[in-house]
Assembly symmetry: C3
Homo-oligomer: 480 residues x 3
């Protein structure tokens, strides 16, 4: 830890948030690189190429058999989760809504291009050296981006757009390697990405946040809170994530019963989570009042935790149990764990992704391992068992369970290791990140409109007359 | 009415809005009960079970024939209507947006679990005592929940979360019985639920509101209005309801032409409603200005009214006529009927569900009865007539029309009767409901952020200097 | 120009924004006309008629072969773009959110009915004199309406609802003729409507705005800006447009690979646009801050520009290049061209549709022409080439390219010519448009709630004490 310490001192210089050169340079250079790499590597796959008609006539297929019709509605739902869901979920801060929804937009749009390349190189590079993309590739690219958006939640308001671009570039690279190991080498199943997406993304973000620890962040504390309308905006994000999570977990599941079952399991787990989140939120607050932070975030934990097992025969009551537990654990995390982590572990987690993605993700990995290990032919059917787990050779449910557990470890290691590495890079004083008293403030990266609200600071005081000095100041100022 | 009167006196005690014990207790107990009951009763249906692959191979079916692909896009649209549509439609109150969208979220998530059980027991209990669920069950559960959310509209801002949970539990139970009678015993058709969902839900809510009449509600009148941005939030709800209503009415219609026709009819009826709503809103206001209340609500009436007949051969112009009438009736309802009902019938209807759901629902039932009675083989085709109405034995269109009318009566009776019963229960002084001067205020059930807006009450006055006293108070306060 | 000048003088009378007679009259008369015309002309098509079951049994088709399942998910996405996308995109003005989302709702709902008729008369009038409608007709009607909503963007805040109704009626009529010429006579391909929808709509709106030029519009300049929350609302519109644009461009493309490819191309072009828009926005602002106007609008330019060529074999890198260029051009348009056009060309373009729809639309037309002209059998396959371009007889790619270019000219001519014509009509002093100092203000057409914000005008001043007079006024007022 010595080198980390000295590195930290090196980086303590005055901050300059002007990204007028660095941001455009990064954007243009990377986008140009994308065009060149796409030109070399990316082509349409069989179902989206105009030669498909020959294929269709030969095999006497119906138009409907095109992969597009199996996956496109789910893809669109996932797309909404990525851009509106994650974007608006983070708008809860009173003066960082532009940054939340705008930077989310930028890194998602950039990230998905890089994801198509990385996932292609690792997953579907053909013998001709070309990557063939179709609707499933688009879904996978969105999934890949999701892990970086989760990580963004931990550092929300504390980094610049350039840092986010760097974080996304490395995050997607790491993701593609991690996913390749988990899916293609270990042969673990993870349709909803509890491990691959959520566990990895959350630990990646938390490690970065730990590396970027700001001891004097309380100087921005007046901005690290919500206002009434920003909480309502955040509910737009929450609800679109919540509603479309069944599509997220079923989007790349097996055709037919696989997708069908994944959607049902997720629907049930999420419903159960909402009820227990409300219970915990009310029980642990004075006067039993509900806290919007819990309603906005913990209600989603069930969807995360049911991700891996969603396409297994988890059974409806199993989904409810998973959701039940996650609602409780996630809410308690917000109440007890987040303050603890900030105080003792020096991890500042703006959106509480540890409670929403990390813990439920790990639970999801464990649930997946247990469900896989407990699979029997009597429950799945002989064919069904093979189909669900893609068993080849002498694989057995018990082995599969072990592999699932191994996959979970891989996801955690990649997240923590990658996060520390990238955190080091992001500490370099060249990325235009804000000073401690400028965090959570759109002012530094956005042209802001002249609001009524923002232009009345001296006249603001609360009902209980705590700020009496302010009023007197106002009055005196008016008299002179 | 004597007993009601004495019961009312019994209930007039000071209010305590602290639900710290009751809300968590209810949530945990009920969710635990759900898990046990799901464990005993609920299993995957044939299309979502992993044995489906055997079935598919036997019958040489395509993957595409899985029910999932017929209904899932519609399901997701309905899901958005339930959570974003109903939730945001009710955010129009200036200080009850958290309660609107948050409690809507809670009761919908709880209700859909109970609905799966109730509808299963009545509708699809197999010989092995198990309820098999698939994507159609999820849609039906969402439909069932919709009726309770409609009822919530009548009592919005005047009840506690615990009361809403009780109201939902009974509402869904009543719904399942009513639906069973209408669909399985009377054999009426009601794909879009004009009768089953809207008429029942609206009268259920109105009866409860009548039982919970608050003579001194005007004490909260300063909060029973909107602000500029809360009206824009409400438009999010309106538009998602409006746009996805074709999916609502077609979600469980017959495969193929049934779903297709239901979507077209609903699309047209809604378009027509918007135009006449604007006409009426402008015509009945001073200076021809439009009223957001009408635009937010009455524009949806056509979708309600076309629900029953949507899958019939209503013809495109028929849909336009239904929408035309409903836009007029619903808007006039907001202008004349809602004040009348509050003043003379003692029914306080916060969202005006009588105008948006009750009247259009009844119209929908009547339109359905007439359209069914007028059905002929020349219009429908011999096979088409049987297919559309599921005729068995000696059924004829005329008989079907009569049955449709009977179904409408059942829906109204269940709504009114059930509402009075549940209203009695909700009058018990144990549910933590707010006092008359605390209605429409999130303050009592939510941890609120410290807003600029909410902390400036003494400085507020309007352009026309009506509140001159307030200003003088402010000034004096500042001088001392 | 002499007659235009004198006509302008004729129209310079005091303004009356009361539309209490005209708006209801127009709505009721036109809606009644719709019902009569629908009664005479519109019927269900084969796939939505109850006779479909006979057809299905004869040809041994699956239920899934119904056109509904090919197009309905895309239709719903397009529907969301029309009502939420366009509606909320225009809510950015601080005091015109009701007008933006409300009038958008009205003219879209009216317009789609008229579009079904117009497009039917020109495109699908059967030998029995009936127009058969199905899900594809609904998509086309939504497309048709889109062109009028684009035009609305140019005149946002400066016209009355009655003017918008007139503008929509003529706009849709012109659209149907233009579309008929381009698609059915010239046989150009334009699945995503770069030319047919965007180019036409934008020039139609710009020409109207030119005809309605207001030299003293700066009197409303205090309202022609955004506030913090209105910019967040606008991002809802931006994101739903952005996310669902792949559905827009693929909605009426060929079944199978056509729809599939159109979605992929659009997805990629849009992703690329976001990155270059951010680069330009940062590069051309002081301190490198991003401008919300660019993020809200220019990020969509790639979707417009890839519309025509989306279903061709544009190749993934081709899509990225198109998006790359459009992000740059559109953002520069906002920075340099919009002020230039207002100052020198007397075109006041509220939403900057010239940068979002006109220029990218023209680029889209050109890209389409080049891509078509460069098509070869080696890239498309023999069957694929015929299928993609619907070649009949002696058509060749080169010819097709020429036809595509001709189509672009037709779109521009119809837009400019039609706009000037309709602009003349809209200058008549009978439509209730607002005075120059009343533009961008919901006050004149909507019953507004009593906001805290809106009722504190005299107390507002900014941090830098620029408005010191206002404060003194306030103080003096309080003392007296």
């Amino acid at each position: 830890m010595g080198c980390v310490q000295s590195f930290r001192e090196l980086c303590d210089r005055p901050k300059n948030t002007n990204v007028r050169i660095s941001l455009p340079a990064v954007c243009i250079v990377w986008e140009t690189a994308m065009i060149i790499l796409f030109g070399i590597f990316i082509r349409y796959d069989d179902d989206s190429d105009s030669h498909w008609i020959d294929d269709r006539k030969e095999t006497n297929k119906s138009d409907m058999e095109n992969e597009f019709y199996f996956r496109y509605p789910s893809f669109q739902d996932v797309h909404v989760m990525i851009f509106v869901g994650f974007g608006f979920l983070m708008t809860f801060l009173k003066r960082y809504s532009f940054g939340a929804v705008g930077f989310n937009f930028l890194i998602a749009a950039f990230g998905l291009q890089w994801a198509l390349l990385m996932q292609g190189w690792f997953g579907s590079l053909g013998p001709d050296g070309k990557i063939k993309i179709g609707v499933e590739s688009l879904i996978n690219a969105d999934f890949c981006v999701a892990s970086c958006l989760i990580a963004y939640g931990a550092v929300l308001g504390k980094v610049s757009a350039v840092q986010l671009m760097v974080m996304t570039l490395f995050g997607i690279t790491l993701f593609a390697v991690e996913e390749h190991i988990i899916i293609h080498i270990i042969h673990a199943k993870d349709a909803g990405g509890s491990m691959v997406i959520h566990t990895f993304g959350a630990y990646y973000g938390l490690s970065i946040s730990w590396m970027l620890y700001r001891p004097n962040l309380n100087q921005s504390s007046r901005l690290q809170c919500s206002v009434y309308h920003s909480d309502v905006f955040a509910m737009i994000g929450t609800l679109f994530l919540w509603m479309f999570w069944p599509s997220f977990n079923s989007a790349i599941a097996d055709h037919g019963d696989g997708q069908h079952r994944a959607a049902i399991n997720t629907y049930l787990a999420l419903a159960s989570t909402v009820v227990t989140t409300v219970a915990m939120s009310s029980l642990f607050q004075k006067h039993g009042k509900l806290d919007m932070v819990h309603i906005q975030n913990s209600t989603l934990a069930g969807g995360v935790a049911v991700g891996t097992a969603a396409e297994f025969m988890l059974m409806p009551y199993g989904s409810l149990i998973v959701g039940f537990c996650c609602g409780i654990i996630s809410t308690l995390g917000y109440i007890y764990l987040t303050p603890f982590m900030e105080k003792y572990l020096k991890i500042q987690d703006t959106c509480g992704i540890h409670n929403l993605h990390a813990m439920p993700g790990v639970i999801g990995g464990i649930v997946g391992a247990i469900t896989a290990a407990a699979a029997t032919e009597s429950v799945y059917g002989v064919e069904g068992l093979k189909e669900t787990f893609d068993f080849v050779g002498d694989m057995s449910p018990t082995k599969q369970g072990g592999y699932q557990a191994a996959a979970l470890c891989v996801a955690i290691c990649f997240g923590v290791g990658g996060g520390i590495l990238v955190g080091c890079i992001l500490r370099l004083p060249i990325w235009g990140d804000p000073a401690d008293d400028s965090c959570f403030d759109d002012e530094h990266y956005w042209e802001l409109p002249q609001d009524e609200e923002s232009t009345q600071p001296v006249l603001q005081y609360n009902n209980h007359m705590r700020n009496k000095d302010v009023i007197e100041t106002t009055f005196n100022m008016q008299q002179t």
